[in-house]
């Protein structure tokens, strides 16, 4: 790991976003939906941070707040370390925001709805360059062609419309558009989940190649743990608007410290028909983010809480603390006492001692 990789690109501190829940004819506020509730992490240059969790856990909202597509609550801080200066994205002025848009981009989940069907591919890719008045004319045409070739498409496709392309090709077009302005940070919001398995692998390879070539940093939002494990250097596990565990991919997958991470890993399907069929099954659904359970938000579904009924789990919200190593943080009161199981070797899930608790 060289110095450049250790440079911080993004520091997110205490990120919060509450949406007002309105009700009735007068649209009175009935409560708050805490989509993101105190998320803090940092992203280093050239790395991929995977954000995983079930639907409704706030992972997409987090990605969009970082791009300021959604404005966070007042005391949130998102420091973007550009070449020589630091900008707080949460409080950026319109001029700063316009500049920031050239530094960070997004790749969307659904390649069918994220491309304007009335525009030609060439126009779609050229649009960011025109808006930011970076180049025009012949230079622009050449740039569009080189971008198309960079993502593995033929330059002649610039004259075609989105409906002429398959899902995988559209996703490549989306990637070309995101990279047109030469950003340093790209938020990938489930970029491969709507693609077929064989095409998925092509797009993942493309994302990995482009990251090496252009020294990009990715925030990779996905619910497919296999993909996240493959592509990410570090992983953050979110549950009900909070990061419950963050650490290097290996640590998270081999040595999870939060019961939720353990349950998620255990529900990963493998293609080995003889992999242990004894899985830890997570009961029930994610609670509504409007009525978040008190204390640790995971306690109603946590098997260790159900066994031991620790009062702290209901009364106190756990804070992120280091476990196993400095970079591995977990929000669980009893993480050091638990003996959790991760993914042992390729594909197989290890199921440990029956009650999984060391006293």
């Amino acid at each position: 790991m060289n110095d450049k990789e250790d440079q911080i690109l993004l520091e997110v501190e205490n990120l919060r976003k509450y949406f007002a829940v309105k009700h009735g004819v007068l649209r009175r506020k009935k409560g708050w939906l805490k989509a993101v509730d105190g998320v803090s992490f940092e992203l280093f240059r050239g790395e991929t941070l995977g954000l995983v969790g079930e639907s409704g856990c706030g992972k997409s909202t987090t990605g969009r707040i970082i791009l300021r597509l959604i404005k966070p609550e007042p005391n949130s801080q998102i420091f973007f370390h550009d070449n020589d200066k630091v900008i707080d994205i949460a409080k950026a002025t319109p001029q700063e925001l316009k500049y920031l848009r050239t530094r960070m981009q997004i790749i969307f989940q659904d390649p069918y709805s994220s491309l304007n069907p009335w525009m030609k591919i060439g126009e779609i890719i050229a649009e960011p360059l025109l808006i930011h008045k970076i180049m025009v004319g012949k230079e622009l045409t050449n740039k569009v062609h080189s971008l198309l070739e960079m993502v593995g498409l033929d330059a002649s496709y610039a004259m075609r419309y989105p409906h002429e392309f398959s899902g995988g090709q559209r996703q490549r077009i989306g990637i070309a558009r995101a990279l047109a302005l030469n950003p340093t940070l790209v938020v990938c919001d489930e970029p491969v989940s709507s693609l077929d398995v064989s095409v998925q692998a092509q797009v993942i390879n493309l994302l990995v190649d482009l990251q090496e070539r252009l020294h990009l940093s990715y925030i990779f939002i996905a619910h497919d743990l296999g993909v996240v494990r493959y592509i990410s250097r570090r992983v953050a596990v979110m549950y009900l608007g909070r990061i419950v565990e963050i650490g290097s991919t290996e640590e998270i997958f081999h040595n999870p410290a939060h019961p939720y991470t353990e349950a998620l890993l255990s529900s990963m399907l493998s293609t080995d028909p003889d992999s242990s069929k004894e899985r830890l099954q997570l009961e029930g659904d994610v609670p509504s983010p409007i009525n978040v359970p008190s204390g640790c938000p995971f306690h109603p579904r946590c098997r260790y809480y159900q066994q031991n009924k620790w009062p702290e789990c209901v009364s106190d919200i756990p804070t992120p603390t280091s476990i196993y190593s400095d970079t591995h943080k977990v929000s669980c009161h009893f993480a050091p006492n638990l003996n959790l199981c991760g993914v042992e070797t390729e594909g197989t899930v290890k199921i440990g001692v029956k009650n999984g608790f060391n006293t």
């Binding site: 692998a201 092509q202 099954q281």
Partner: protein, 330 residues
């Protein structure tokens, strides 16, 4: 063993303005009682169309079962060819939903938004059984309990939008099970769900299949789902079966280059270790499929012979692959 359902050279074509789409092109397989058959393939391979053909739900007027047999053996051992029945006729209607039931991919969009889930289950029960409305409602509550919906007495009055995706899928399963079908077709039942919920639903299906000794046809694109639940697997590509065999054989010793490619393109292990090995190119258009082996345009091991459709090469335990690479043809 007597087959519950036997499909023989089924061909379902769509006659569109652009040409003939051979959605299902000569597919044969059988489902046994108490067995889970997995059908795996990418989008457009005809796996859902096969299911719709069995259910008599091929969309008219473009779509039509051109030839082939769908032989269904009922409780008394009487065999009916579903392909010859009128899809709207009395005979088909008494089988569809009662003897053969289906679960669809998108639970929220395949339930009616204007009726409560209770009404929708009761409707199926009244159509197919002699129960009174009151008895049917009682049975609906029992069914919802069976599929693990908490507080079923209250949930029965809920509309689909009031339930989460996982709960809707459970309600769909309850509806499909309402008449105790002998064959359950599940078309990507977990694709729209979270991984944790996916596991709950797969467990539930497996448990119900064993308890009711139903035949289960699991249609999916995810080999992980296949490994979890299937006993026997069919791999489809562009409307044709390219490989079939017991689940262990297919996942451990895949013979067809397409199956091998599918397994290799799944990311496994950690970052930076190995580059993923995807299948090159894209699935060709179904209107103009390649002559001969449908996979020949993307196959890394393509031969001159591949311009003719290969016969099935056969190994032990009924493991077979349609590929010219092998010589042990039937």
């Amino acid at each position: 063993m007597e087959h519950l359902l036997e499909i023989d050279q089924l061909k379902t074509y769509y006659f569109t303005d652009c040409g003939i789409v051979k959605a299902v092109d000569g597919v044969s397989f059988s489902v046994e009682k108490g067995q889970c058959l997995g059908i795996v393939g990418e989008s457009g391979c005809g796996k859902s169309q096969t299911a719709l053909s069995i259910m008599g739900l091929v969309s008219k007027p473009q779509g039509r079962i051109v030839s082939g047999k769908i032989l269904y053996r009922d409780k008394k051992g009487h065999i009916t060819d579903l392909a010859t029945l009128s899809p709207n006729g009395y005979e088909y209607r008494s089988i569809r939903g009662k003897e053969i039931a289906m679960i669809f991919q998108e639970p929220i969009s395949s339930l009616s938004p204007v009726y409560t889930i209770g009404d929708q289950i009761v409707e199926a029960l009244i159509e197919h059984t002699t129960l009174s409305k009151k008895e049917a409602t009682h049975r609906a509550v029992e069914l919802l309990k069976t599929v693990g919906i908490p507080a079923a007495e209250e949930r029965i009055h809920d509309y689909p939008h009031q339930l989460s995706g996982g709960m809707c899928q459970r309600a769909m399963i309850a509806m499909a099970l309402s008449c105790e079908p002998r064959l359950l077709i599940a078309d990507e039942p977990t694709t729209a769900l979270d991984v944790t919920i996916q596991l709950q639903i797969l467990r539930l299906l497996k448990e119900l299949q064993e308890r009711l000794s139903m035949g289960l046809m699991m249609i999916t694109h995810d080999l992980g789902v296949i490994a979890e639940i299937a006993d026997y697997v069919i791999v489809m590509y562009l409307g044709k079966v390219v490989e079939k065999g017991p689940v262990r054989k297919i996942l451990r010793e895949p013979k067809h280059p397409y199956t091998q490619g599918l397994l290799q393109s799944r990311p496994s292990g950690t970052a930076g270790k190995v580059r993923l090995n995807p299948i090159r190119g894209v699935v060709p258009s179904a209107i103009d499929p390649p002559a001969g082996c449908p996979f020949s345009t993307r196959c890394p091991k393509v031969l001159d012979k591949c311009s003719a459709f290969p016969p099935f090469a056969l190994w032990e335990e009924g493991h077979a692959a349609a590929c010219w690479l092998y010589e042990n043809f039937m």
